[in-house]
Symmetry: C2
Subunit: 97 residues, 2 copies
């Protein structure tokens, strides 16, 4: 597990990568910052900061749902997330070499 973390961190920024991949992989439920923070082991405030950066880059949109803000990947965000997800998988394989 330590080695796996190593090679990820050699190329990828850990937290934004985790958050993007979580948005992409877990399609079973609606996404809110608080849920993503738990899933990705990030603080709530850091998760919100990263999500704001994603929105600024056009990777996600926010939709009000009552008092909560629902997060959705845009087409550009989904396409990027797909590639990042593949890279994460490849990095797992490199670790297993």
């Amino acid at each position: 597990m330590a080695a796996m973390k190593d090679v990820h961190n050699l190329f990828l920024q850990e937290k934004p990568t985790r958050i993007l991949v979580a948005l992409y992989r877990d399609r079973s439920q609606e996404k809110y910052a608080s849920i993503l923070a738990k899933r990705t082991d990030c603080t709530y405030s850091h998760t919100v900061k990263v999500l704001d950066e994603f929105a600024e880059k056009g990777l996600v949109t926010f939709q009000k749902s009552g008092r909560k803000k629902l997060i959705e990947l845009t087409d550009a965000g989904r396409s990027l997330a797909e590639q990042v997800n593949q890279l994460v998988t490849s990095l797992h394989e490199v670790n297993g070499h």
Copy 2:
């Protein structure tokens, strides 16, 4: 250019990514740490450190050529570099959105 740097750095570790992509893209000449350092705007000592990490992960091999150490991507390294290169291209497109 500033924005471009932003989105790269949001997901990718800058220097290792540059070094891997330089090894992949520039097939016109033999690769040595000193040349890569110049190309990627890294210090020589940091470049050597990153290359040692690459070698440890099985991404590159070193071959003695006189007093110099020639660097070559392994098959695993080339395959990973191809994906990272694609991701870098996609991130450029995100910046242009």
